[in-house]
Amino acid sequence: MELFSQLAQGFDAALSLTNLGFCLLGVTLGTLVGVLPGIGPVATIAMLLPATYGQQPLSALIMLAGIYYGAQYGGSTSAILVNLPGESSSVVTCLDGHAMARRGRAGAALGIAALGSFFAGTVATLLIAALAEPLAELALQFGPAEYFSLMVLGLVAAVVLANGSLVKAIAMTVLGLLLGLIGTDVNSGTERYSFGIPELSDGFGFVVVSMGLFGIAEIIHNLEKGIQRNIFTTSVGGIWPTRADFKAAWKPVLRGTFLGSILGVLPGGGAILSSFAAYTIEKKLAKDPSRFGQGAIEGVAAPEAANNAGAQTSFIPLLTLGIPPNAVMALMVGAMMIHGIVPGPQVMTEKPDLFWGLIASMWIGNLMLVLLNLPLIGIWIRLLRVPYQILYPAILVFCCIGIYSVNQSTTEVAFAVGFGLLGYIFIKLRCEPAPLLLGFVLGPLMEENLRRAMLLARGDPTIFVTRGLSLALLLMALALLIILVLPSVRQTREIAFHED
């Protein structure tokens, strides 16, 4: 079997002592930021991006990937114990996970979340390995029209996932696209919206925008809300779930894994959409839906499996098509570029060690996470007690250093303050910043492909619906919109975001 020999090659690369070390570092950091509310994987990866200059490309990617899926594990811990989603993808876990904790069954909830995630991670890793090659071949048939439609699908998915009003999310996406166009136009060499500022001739840096919107703005918002003390007195109980728990949870874990794996592949999908969809389906399938929200173990098992599967399979579009499906993957593009790797279908053939090594490291990382999360749960619980007033100046310092270290530019640090204030205003106006960031990344790519497609079609816009693949992608975008306005999905979305 070719697949297994390739995976073996990957394990060979990933199992070197250095790479194991970076994998452990990544998943530990990921768990850490996942547990701590107020700092997420986007900000963390953005901060550490400049620090990966000096490392081997594979080690750098292994560590950054570890942060992302590690955060999925960590996020569930704070969701279950203190009803605060450490990560946005753990929002639904709060509903039943915290209800279980209030009944003194926090241990079982944590246990099933970790084991379910591990199972899902294993399946998703195999899936990436199996799907990568056929998808990369499919990608070779992609023309500019298909790439454009794929990005439309991604943006629609981002809009659908946003917290609150759909129309505002669309506006945020469009604004993001526009901000992404700032800088030199590659086709004509015209500098757009740069106002003669040299730092703007390449546009705003991704780190500047993401740190401003997610780092600085969040801190301001949290401080304004007032610093809450999260004290929990419930005992955690036994970590190992009972036989009855396993019996109730194995089917939801399977369904969650399946759903998460599929939804993760969609651009704009990934962990958040997966966990929402999984929760909704479990509630639909349950004999007694009223148990949900009261501590149903299915309501923890399925979304946790789904968000981990989704986090892993969201690497598929990045690795095979070169398209970042979400903000974290956009940062991974940045990391690859730093090392001179252009993401896309050619990575697999030109750098097989890197490609398969990264995939193998994901499984290793998942194993490390189970070991980190179950026996060491006490450490993470203690971490939850670190007060925010000590935490936020530290986060702020790391943000500043992260932004400055990209280009040693103090002007960019000042720009980040601007985005911080903009982000804060948007939070106050209930406009979620995530779609803006995705639009910002996809803006130049989208324009490029739109121009090429229209040039090939001699100015005829019907090219997007007359080419089969492009039409299929656009229909998927439409279907996604329709599914998400269905009443039952909307309800979960509302309940979950209501907890805020």
């Binding site: 609150g164 136009d185 757009r192 000590i390 310092v397 500043c400 000042a414 324009e447």
Partner: protein
């Protein structure tokens, strides 16, 4: 206290901000060559998006709060007096700007300390001995990790 009209006003403001961005981007795009739909110039796509954004902004502003989200919102329940509300925004911004000024003139160690000190002013319950201690500890950590560990070419000390 939350006024009953707040979500409505919030949407109006959000819509107007979006429309303002849209109009500005579109107006500036008019200075760049637009081109044709077959050969798009640098102004085409931004012009298109600017017009779309303006349209969406107007819809949000004038749809009469139809799209407003959850009417009850815990985070707004206890908003402090207006003079206090901008305190975190101002002080956090100031601390980051201070870092920008300080990093090249007095170096990483003092810049870090400055960020911790100024940003802690935003927390009214700050306990100053703790702030000074954590500022010192963070200075040591950031110099150790970033300047020596990762060998980033930062100025460390003022002399």
């Amino acid at each position: 206290m939350i006024s009953r009209h707040q979500p409505f006003r919030r949407d109006r403001l959000a819509g107007l901000i979006f429309a303002a961005f849209g109009i500005s981007f579109a107006a500036l795009a008019a200075h760049y060559p637009i081109g044709t739909s077959m050969r798009m110039g640098p102004g085409y796509f931004p012009m298109l998006l600017g017009v779309v954004l303006t349209g969406i902004g107007i819809v949000i502003a004038f749809s009469g709060g139809r799209y407003y989200d959850s009417p009850t919102d815990a985070s707004d329940g206890t908003s402090p007096a207006p003079s206090q509300r901008w305190r975190p925004a101002l002080l956090i911004s100031a601390s980051v700007l201070l870092f920008a000024v300080a990093i090249e003139s007095v170096g990483l160690a003092l810049a870090t300390f400055g960020v911790v000190a100024v940003s802690s002013l935003a927390n009214r319950e700050a306990h100053w001995p703790h702030v000074l201690a954590s500022g010192a500890v963070l200075s040591v950590i950031s110099v150790g990790v970033f300047a020596y560990g990762l060998r980033l070419p930062f100025r460390v000390l003022p002399f």
